[in-house]
Symmetry: C2
Subunit: 432 residues, 2 copies
Amino acid sequence: MKSKAINIGILGLGTVGCGVVKVIDENHRVISNKIGSPLNIKKIADINTSRFRLIKLSKDKLTTKAEEVIEDKDIDIIVEVIGGIGVAKRYVLSAIKQKKHIVTSNKELMAKFGDQVIEAAGKEKIEVRFEASCGGGIPIIRPLKQCLAANKIEEVIGIVNGTTNYILTRMSEEEKDLKEVLKEAIKEGYAEADPSLDIDGFDASYKIAILSSVAFQTRVNLSNVYREGIRGIEQKDIEYARELGYKIKLLAIARREKDKIEIRVHPTLVPLTHPLSNVHGAFNAIFVKGNAVGELMFYGQGAGALPTASAVVGDIIELAQRIKKGETASIYTPLKRLKVKNIALIESRYYFRMKVLDQPGVLAKVSKILGEEKVSLASVVQKGSGGSLAEIVFLTYQVQNMKISRALSQIKRLKVVKEIGNIIRVEVEAGL
Amino acid sequence: MKSKAINIGILGLGTVGCGVVKVIDENHRVISNKIGSPLNIKKIADINTSRFRLIKLSKDKLTTKAEEVIEDKDIDIIVEVIGGIGVAKRYVLSAIKQKKHIVTSNKELMAKFGDQVIEAAGKEKIEVRFEASCGGGIPIIRPLKQCLAANKIEEVIGIVNGTTNYILTRMSEEEKDLKEVLKEAIKEGYAEADPSLDIDGFDASYKIAILSSVAFQTRVNLSNVYREGIRGIEQKDIEYARELGYKIKLLAIARREKDKIEIRVHPTLVPLTHPLSNVHGAFNAIFVKGNAVGELMFYGQGAGALPTASAVVGDIIELAQRIKKGETASIYTPLKRLKVKNIALIESRYYFRMKVLDQPGVLAKVSKILGEEKVSLASVVQKGSGGSLAEIVFLTYQVQNMKISRALSQIKRLKVVKEIGNIIRVEVEAGL
């Protein structure tokens, strides 16, 4: 018996779109066995016709008009891999109105309009899947939603941007400056020509917003996600961090404390004993803490055509199985809206450094101000930097952001202090 | 509107059973929100009534008769956390006949009779879930089945037994012998009084049999799983391995090569640069390689009451959601039966050591035999062990098990060779 194929339509034939076509082609037997029917790519739309040559599909399946895909009566699932929130949002919402199930890898769309998309889907009784939007091929959305459903999730901390992790890894291994490594990364294709999305932490902020909304079942307003990129990180910081027993990583952190959450993206000193410090190159890792399961880590390739396609096609297979079995969609229940803690009130440990006149009494003046603002020091290391200036590196105990900012703005005004360098949070205890 | 509760029955009130009761109690709001109905523990059975005092549940919910739970008309899901294959198998099969969905953490049952259980469930159109059977709280079964469904899985390699990893970690950190560490581990509750299940690799073999069957969709006959425990590992091996850049771990390895698979459990030298070498103490980790997703690692607590309960209750929630939505069970499709490669034919790199007379020409004699059997050496280190004997440590390139065995049995017969010490495979390249 040859059973009726499940037809899908793909919007966008960029890196991920081509990956999806390739995975479905290469693994078609595995896939159709799992679905119990063949999986058929009925139509693909992209405005850039030069991309049509990238894949081996007959011409009548290719179109420049997204509407032809969205409105095709035989298509059950629309795969949106355009990215961004330009046309993608409009196409997804109009596909939902056509009662097509949605699979998307679009982190910006899901971070900014996820709730709207899921609500619209709920009204039409169709399903939306977005496993590929965070962490590429790493299974994380479904594990959070299903495998860990019995937990109160307390913490999700991730290295969720491969580009910045690649850059920081190379800065650490090759003792080169950010500018130099970034230039090479762009050449090698590890970074975009305009690297701001990655370097300034936007990409990571989208992902942690999505992860928070799934983990804590809350709406997240992106403007409440504190964001600091890696542009300011100097080779010197990486060296000092290493001497102190840390690596610098761009972490995306989400924590829940009763009815409040904190969400932030920033460079962080991670202890060498914590597994997140061992995540090298373009790899991603997501660390989760639940009140039953304890600490977990998921590790893998967070980007790239095939890993991302692995997640997209995994979602397609699940939806196809549901269609085959005639299962009804989940009922939409609006998410709650947990309060996001103001960054000024969040406590962290801090690393910072300053250039001061190399003369007696300077440390006393600086320490006095820190003491008055109740900033306790865990370690102070003076670096002779030659000439009349010395550099001092500080590591604090837990202190509110507000207090450290206040202390440092006073210290800045001291005549003996010539420059305050990077101020970087220290997070995650040696766990696992 | 108060919706009808989903009733569950629990068989067994050991560590995991108590954990399940605790998680359902502590997280009941999170759980019932996700199901859309309250989750009610209707009845628990255990023959050991002294365990009834471990939990706060009214007496009428507790019984010594499993039948009372299994035959209760109001119960939708039976949770089997007895373990072993004594009564557990009988109870599970009889619960299936009563059309109860099954959640089990029982690795021995699923490794030995998983296919029979799943087939019986298919006939009655009910579902079986066993996320907790491998890796405790680490999500691995569902990610393999769903998130990675688009992949041809090539490799699953795990540190899946916390007890042996704890022992090996302590041997490595404290330079103590296995016997001493084992004694302490039993005292601390990290090992059973009869540690054979863990130490001799049985537990790991059950888990890799289950993981293989899910990853490769094949039946696995446990007797085809090659198994070697850690009893023979000496402090000396751990030291030599470290000098060579490796840690010794008990790995459970499953690989697929077209229509053949290899499945084995044995101590292994793992390069320090591979993340599996950084899995410390009682933690577990499972490394997966798929043809689309590339390399992934899942990391967390592989045992313990709450982590295991996290997985069990996650399964309960999924089944409860299905019941609420009136979804039909998956259709049973018999698994294929991939051929298991004979261990003698499997290629690995090897570490081995031998005590020889400390005199000229010995290495030449040994090397000649190795050369004749086509065993190529990657490194040879001679250790002066004092007196008239020297110890030589060898590291080979890839070679068939058969050939190395043949070579070593000839070498053993050399008069200059006094003792051949441990022979340990070297696996997993520095990845991730």
